[in-house]
Amino acid sequence: MNAITDALVITKRQLLQLTRVPEVLIFSTIQPVMFVLLFRFVFGGSISTGQPGGYVQLLMPGIFVQTVAFTLAATASGLAEDMGKGLIDRFRSLPISRSAVVVGRTLGDSLLNIVVLTVMGIAGYAVGWRPTGGLLNTALAFLFLLAFGYALSWTGIFAGLAARDARVVQNISFLITFPLTFLSNAFAPTTGMPRVLQYFAEWNPVSTMVAACRELFGLKNQFGATAGSFPSEHPLITSVFYMLLIMAIFVPLSVRKYANKSK
């Protein structure tokens, strides 16, 4: 019981930070909205989709997934900063559960995602995005996006605890998340990629997430090399499996790393 209330105190701290430094919230929303507008108006005209409603229908699920994937970097650098300042040591010296601090942070980052996704959804709607899968499916899609961001923030926790410097960990996180989100179906169909890349791109969790969201938003998916395979037929279940796998690996690793006292 205490473990949960302790974690919530840590989450509350993160929300307080946002009220004290509102710039953080502003810029973490401006960036994805900027992506929406850039992709919509720069590439939107030249990518033919064969979907009713145009490129923005394909784009929005891709940008949603990319944005929640970047949670990883925010989680990692935030935690690395707390480590560097000695704050994590202070938390470790308190009689609180060993999981409270890391759970609290992942929850806080998810709450931030709710705000960011809402603003993005409004921005997308303004430039022509219209989900047609029904209210329930749309809500489900957003839930999945939050869950995916939550799962990924655990890899961020691990990276943040392992890092020595907040700036380094931020750079490394981007080095991982950028190719991962672009080597996918998020912004362009995979069918134009070399065949080997198609396999990677279509098995990529980012792609299965994007495909799952597209289905929930009422779109048809297009698969290249892996057409007919399990992830192409069941992107939603595959995505859930990926999330559980990530958490099964990184939750225990992170909690252990947090409690590790050899250094």
Partner: protein, 316 residues
């Protein structure tokens, strides 16, 4: 009753390459202040981190409040307060935010956390800055807030790791005042410092550590006695050093130590005041007027130099 006991603590880093603690033992009597004195890299922070359950020793054994720090770290955490070398608080939040947050993490409940935060801010003269982000605080204010966070639940045992390092003299005086008040309130305190003056000022007992080992222990007076008795010291003009040295050597019976930079001449003497009067007489006869003359008890700097062969400020 011993509140803190450490026996033969060994801790190495980087797979044994760096030996931070090399069989360190110490103990703190309940309600007293022990100062762990040593230069940078002597093992002070490692000792505190082990006692505060942040680090496991490679070998050795330690109890805090009678509880084994390795076997029952959770129970230890309930009775200790820790304030580290760097102010470990959330700098974007206000002082008040921080104290309320830590109060809640100590499971005080929201109301009690707020009441305690107000009380501590008042006590540490931080009420005026309570609602400002810590980023805007001076170094001394940050340290006081950090200390406040460490004593939210009135811990019986407090660890302070270099509480005044980096503070200006005024900040240090204020910090000392706050610490003294805590000690009068009955807390058992283990304090590390590289300032000999600080140990002298605050501690009932001092352990001197170097290279991860205790090299001396005792009260400030005992340590000083170990190094030798009183010294007669005189400060003169540069061109009078030679003459002064001759006079002091004659009175002391041992060769005087001359420090040309400080323009001082000193030597150990047995019967202090008589030697001082003799010296004054001889200087007067020689028409030599010292800038300063007096009897000096050895400083803790002298203690460190005598024990380790190197000065306390020296870094490895």
């Amino acid at each position: 009753m011993k509140s803190v006991i450490a026996e033969n603590l060994v801790k190495t880093y980087r797979k044994g390459e760096v030996k931070a603690l090399d069989g360190l033992s110490l103990d703190v009597e309940e309600g007293t202040v022990l100062s762990v004195l040593g230069p940078n890299g002597a093992g002070k922070t490692t000792t505190v981190r082990i006692l505060a359950t942040l680090l496991s020793p490679d070998s050795g054994h330690a109890t805090v409040g009678g509880i084994d720090v390795v076997k029952h770290p959770d129970k230890v955490r309930e009775i200790i307060g820790l304030s580290g070398q760097y102010a470990a608080v959330d700098e974007t939040l206000t002082g008040w935010d921080n104290l309320v947050m830590f109060g809640q993490l100590y499971h005080l409940g929201k109301k009690a956390s707020i009441a305690r935060a107000d009380e501590l801010l008042e006590r540490f003269s931080l009420t005026d800055s309570a609602k400002r982000p810590i980023k805007t605080y001076s170094g001394g204010m940050r340290r006081r807030l950090d200390l406040a966070a460490a004593i939210i639940v009135k811990p019986k045992i407090l660890f302070l790791d270099e509480p005044t390092t980096g503070l200006d003299p005024r900040g240090r005086q204020e910090m000392w005042g706050v610490i003294k008040e805590l000690v009068e309130g009955g807390v058992t305190l283990l304090l590390t410092t590289q300032y000999l003056e600080e140990a002298d000022h605050l501690a009932d007992e001092i352990v001197v550590i170097d290279h991860g080992k205790v090299i001396a222990r005792g009260t400030s007076d005992v340590l000083k006695k170990d190094v030798g008795g009183e010294r007669l010291e005189v400060i003169v003009e540069a061109n009078q050093l030679k003459l002064a040295s001759e006079i002091i050597t004659r009175i002391s019976g041992t060769a005087a130590h001359v420090d040309e930079g400080m323009r001082s001449v000193s030597a150990p003497v047995k019967n202090g005041t008589k030697s001082l009067m003799d010296a004054l007489r001889e200087f007067d006869d020689a028409k030599l007027h010292p800038l300063d003359i007096g009897l000096k008890r050895p400083s803790l700097d002298d203690v460190f130099l005598a024990l380790t062969g190197h000065a306390a400020e020296e870094t490895k």
